[in-house]
Assembly symmetry: C2
Homo-oligomer: 410 residues x 2
């Protein structure tokens, strides 16, 4: 819709006149009042007035308290707000978020609004180009434990992960600036380990170092990390706001992929009645703000997100009708090699398989952990059952992983 | 607790071993693993290990699914994270927010952590000093509608509000940078109206102009507003993150009170199962980050927050055991003069009575709207029933307000 951003809300109420509620949102969050305006004023204010696009009431056959709801779509004129995510969110869900049981379940921004956002600098294709891998899902691993470890410990952990054939290694999101492993030293140390591993593996590797610190120093800290050799960044977007991510991704001097961590996302998306749904929070807004990779809880592992929500996040990150570059989906948490067939069934090759415990907890060690994933990915891509692949020569790491954690074939 | 920040979580689970869960949080969100560490390593890592302070299980007599929960308190070593709110939140509620039904219900930061925060620059006392009012609750009014209005319209609205005897006027939080009423022009226009009204009322008045724009420009925009004459700021904290507020309040060149708007807070606090409770979100963290005034939904009006939660927010903003300046509580939404006795019962004089429709919707106009509130405040402070005060000579504005909206005596 040209010149309007559309928000969809799910509103629960046992008795409400939802059509009336929709009208009050459209007026209340834009021009403030309407029916009492003189006609001449209405003509002048028309372009600022929100519009009710649809009101879709779900009326339970037998009313059970708390189960009656409506999906309400409201179009907000772009002219009412500046072209940034804080202005958009405050307009469509600032006051309204506190007005009863109401959840923001979708956003469609106008082409004009979107044009203010360069989006991901690399996107899925750009990240593939950097690591030189185009024919399979990528593999990312996470440091096992980092707090209290020194540079030597980190280097050793990094090297063993890299030897296993992973394409990316990410910092733990709870590793902040600290005297044991300060930002620049950490980058230098880990990139040295990456180069050393490459002598064996021949593989390019991205290291997403955790970008932290005062908001006003984020871009400068990113430049420091890059000057020290960082070739990717990890960022806790929701702790700083989407605009901070946008300002990183829109900065031409910060030309490395940014991986968005979902820390704190569970404060927003899980309730059916309140908050912001995952497809908006971790999908559309992350891509709009410029995340090249987006981590989110998978439906397979320990920290779960329902399958349907997961697929909605994936769709938002990859939607080909959006003109921005795509964001690489990274379903995370509780992933072991035996889950790879499920991940590929749901994501195809357009996914980064991401594991921490599933790499470091491997019975034969961290290196074998990475190898087991790579073997599982090869088998799953070939349509070969993992148990069958596991008994082939050269796939000992996969066999040990399956013996430890089992398999869930697609 | 020296050297530790303590988080309290309410975790719902019908079957969980909550003691075990608490232990897994304390270890998982700090050192990562513990029992399998060699003894020598344990000695080195001890200072990084989270500690379970208490696990208070609420075991329903007859188990109803979904009603069994535990309040779990975990102490996190300060040494694990930098002294900023993003680091604190990512540590205590980053990953954990996505791990089942878990709500962050309290935070107690260590004195060391708190020492990195100057807190409110003015606080309640400082704001009172600026307007020169120490013996009654303050009165704030909100523009009725602002979008689509030009400077002349805004000036007229501002003047009529000011004539009614309000102490503060705040922008609508959805008024962003726009060609009709750009920041500096808006400030100049409204402050001129304030000076003009002062000729009649003799009153000092704060105008909280809405601070918006790109994150990196917030402090510069604040300085522009101040240079144009602004004597207060309104800020949508949650759309930018608490650290952005901290960076404003800690900036010595931005020496005006900051009013924190709760826009988007409803995405966090209302669910019993998920998110962050209001006392933390709108209470402790707003004060820590330096809000001089904090707006939040009142339990009286249209946008409601349960009374108990409201009092918890108040307590967090005013808690005398915290060494930071207090933040002025501003319960908002749906307030009319007939609610003043309730507000004073719950907040005493330490409150800002804040109204939009309750001022502009007054049957005798905006000016009478402000007067009615001032008359209600005087009566309530004197312990006089409003209906009795309303029939006294000089209190015609109050009478008209009560005829329109009624009274709820305390």
């Amino acid at each position: 819709m040209i010149g309007y951003c559309i928000a969809t809300y799910r509103c629960y109420d046992d008795k409400a006149d939802f059509a009336k509620k929709a009208q009050s949102i459209a007026v209340g969050l834009t021009v403030g009042s309407w029916t009492e305006l003189p006609e001449a004023k209405k003509a002048a204010m028309e372009k600022h007035l929100g519009k009710v696009i649809s009101v879709d009431v779900h009326e339970p056959v037998n009313l059970v308290a708390g189960e009656r709801y409506a999906d309400i779509r409201i179009a907000y004129p772009d002219v009412n707000f500046s072209r940034d995510i804080p202005a958009l969110l405050v307009t469509i869900f600032g006051k309204l978020s506190m007005d009863g049981k109401v959840k923001l379940i979708d956003i469609e921004v106008s082409p004009e609004f979107e044009s203010a956002f360069p989006g991901p600098q690399f996107g899925m294709q750009g990240v593939r180009d950097l690591v030189g891998v185009h024919n399979r899902p990528l593999l990312m691993s996470i440091f096992k434990s980092v707090i209290g470890h020194d540079l030597t410990g980190l280097e050793e952990q990094f090297y063993r992960q890299a030897l296993g054939g992973v394409d990316l290694v990410k910092d733990d999101e709870i590793l902040f600036e600290n005297p044991l492993t300060p930002l620049e030293k950490r980058v230098e140390t880990c990139m040295r380990a990456a180069r050393k591993a490459k002598e064996t593996t021949g593989q390019e590797l991205l290291y997403a170092v955790n970008l932290t610190g005062p908001t006003s120093q984020l871009n400068a800290n990113a430049r420091r990390a890059i000057a020290a050799g960082a070739n990717a960044l990890l960022f806790n977007v929701l702790a700083y706001g989407f605009d901070a991510l946008h300002e990183l991704s829109a900065d031409p001097t910060i030309h490395v992929p940014i991986a968005a961590h979902p820390a704190m996302a569970g404060a927003f998306y899980p309730s059916p009645y309140y908050g912001i749904s995952a497809n908006v929070l971790l999908g559309k807004l992350m891509r709009l703000a410029g995340a090249d990779l987006v981590l989110f809880p998978s439906p397979y592992g320990s920290v779960v997100m329902p399958k349907e929500e997961n697929m909605a996040v994936r769709d938002a990150l990859l939607d080909p009708t959006i003109s921005l570059r795509t964001s690489f989906p990274v379903p995370s948490a509780g992933i072991h090699p035996g889950l790879v067939p499920l991940i590929l069934r749901d994501f195809g090759s357009d996914v980064i398989v991401n594991a921490g415990g599933g790499v470091h907890g491997h019975p034969l060690g961290t290196e074998a952990g990475g190898q087991a994933f790579r073997q599982a990915i090869s088998a799953a891509l070939a349509g070969q059952p993992l148990r069958e692949a596991a008994v082939q020569a050269g796939n000992e790491a996969l066999k040990a992983a399956i013996d430890a954690w089992g398999v869930r074939e697609a």
